[in-house]
Subunit: 273 residues, 2 copies
């Protein structure tokens, strides 16, 4: 069997596919569990439709904000709502820059036009960001503020970083994505490694997607419950069941896991055990 090295685009798509199909993942869509509005097939369709924007990123030309907007626009073609917005925030700069260092350089080079494009992408999704601050995505005044203050896309992410672990990766240099990639390589090849890595990340950091929906207390509670699973005090199926029942979705840990898989695939980690 001859196998050329995977391209960055293929690694990104594989990462999206492998993360969503890995199971069991407490509280999230996977092979064995859909939500009424959002199903596995929506995530997989999004993986297919993301191709052109990922190819733009791979060329390393064009503007990061525009490319993210294209990814969101092209993957909005189904009824499943926001599937990969957070994943694109991580994947697009990583594909563009080829490494974390390259991603950070591209991020530093963004301008207010990127911030404007990003907000337009944001408005296409139903994602709630900080509802209480002055950068409200639905307020046209926001775009004026962005231009007046000459905020680039890094400034935008900085603005949300306290409450959004995905945005925080842009500010801090992708440490959680890096950690996840290292965990995958330690945990071995294949699906079980993805599940263990997801759970380990969940046990280390409160998921800010949970915090936004349910408050930080529930996010911490979920983190400690993941630790209990890793310590053998509780089954993963039991935690999955509770998260589903209470609609607790570790969506940001999922996004970080996608970025981790992307990095690990480029460093020799095998998805195919």
């Amino acid at each position: 069997m001859t196998c050329l090295r995977l391209s960055a685009v293929e690694r990104a798509q594989l990462a999206m596919m492998l993360e969503v199909t890995a199971f069991p993942k407490p509280g999230n869509v996977d092979r064995c569990h859909d939500y009424p509005e959002t199903r596995l097939e929506h995530f997989l369709a999004s993986t297919i439709f993301a191709r052109p924007a990922l190819e733009e990123a791979e060329l390393g030309k064009g503007r990061l904000g525009e490319i993210i907007k294209h990814a969101v626009r092209d993957t909005n073609c189904h009824a499943g709502g926001n599937t990969h917005f957070g994943a694109f925030i991580l994947l697009i700069p990583l594909v563009y820059g080829k490494t974390i260092e390259g991603a950070m350089a591209a991020i530093a080079n963004t301008e207010s036009s990127d911030a404007v494009a990003f907000y337009k992408a944001f408005a296409m999704t139903a994602v709630k960001m900080n509802a209480t601050d002055d950068l409200d995505v639905n307020d046209p005044h926001t775009l004026t503020l962005i231009r007046e203050r000459d905020m680039n896309l890094l400034d935008i992410m900085q603005h949300s970083a306290a409450n959004d672990m995905v945005a925080r990766e842009w500010v801090t240099g992708f440490p959680l994505s890096r950690r996840g990639a290292d965990l995958l390589k330690e945990n071995g090849p294949g699906r079980d490694s993805i599940v263990r890595t997801f759970l380990t990340l969940l046990a280390m950091e409160p998921d800010t997607f949970i915090a936004k929906k349910h408050g930080m207390e529930v996010a911490r509670e979920t983190m400690m419950a993941a630790r209990d699973v890793l310590d053998g005090k509780r089954s993963i199926e039991d935690l999955d069941e509770e998260c589903i029942r209470r609609n607790i979705n570790p969506g940001s840990i999922a996004d970080i896991t996608i970025a981790a898989i992307f990095l690990a695939l480029g460093e020799g980690w095998s998805w195919d055990s």
Copy 2:
């Protein structure tokens, strides 16, 4: 939500993804069931890796045999074995020709070079074709015969058509793929429609992939069992369980279902219910 019309490439990839994720499908890999050697993730990786060859086909240039060979080569990059060889035999000409009529015209225009390329693709897979005839893929003499007789790719398919319902589609004008597309549109949108269509096709024709592995008697038996499910005499889960236990895989009906989904998506059928 703005949605541009799906391209032929996207329809082909969606078709591959939707077919494999539909469940329950008696005896085949789906969301709830893997085989030890071949898992859902292999089929989904193949869907991603097929993109360049499908894009070649969409351009409508190049040679059908070469494009099929590229599709097989690019999707061989995993340990799951042959996942989509039959699906490519159907999808590549349909994407290339844009319609069944266009596909048949392209098929008629193939030459011995396409047949040679096809046999080289074939040799990359572990698929058994007719072991008893004189066109043995592992026999280098075969390629000499093909050139001497100036057989084109249609001639090759004609040679296998009696025992292979996928090859037969090339000879007879894709009637089963057409029937499947019509069934999908009758059965309504979404996953349940795919399952019902798969079952209906299975109940109408003995699956030649089953026949090659287990003999025509078992293929007919499976066809009649599918009819029992449609008639309410038996549950689909029960048939699925028996097929898994006996390693009965309706692989060619799956390939035809993929082609049917591809056609139906281009005719207004909605996958997203």
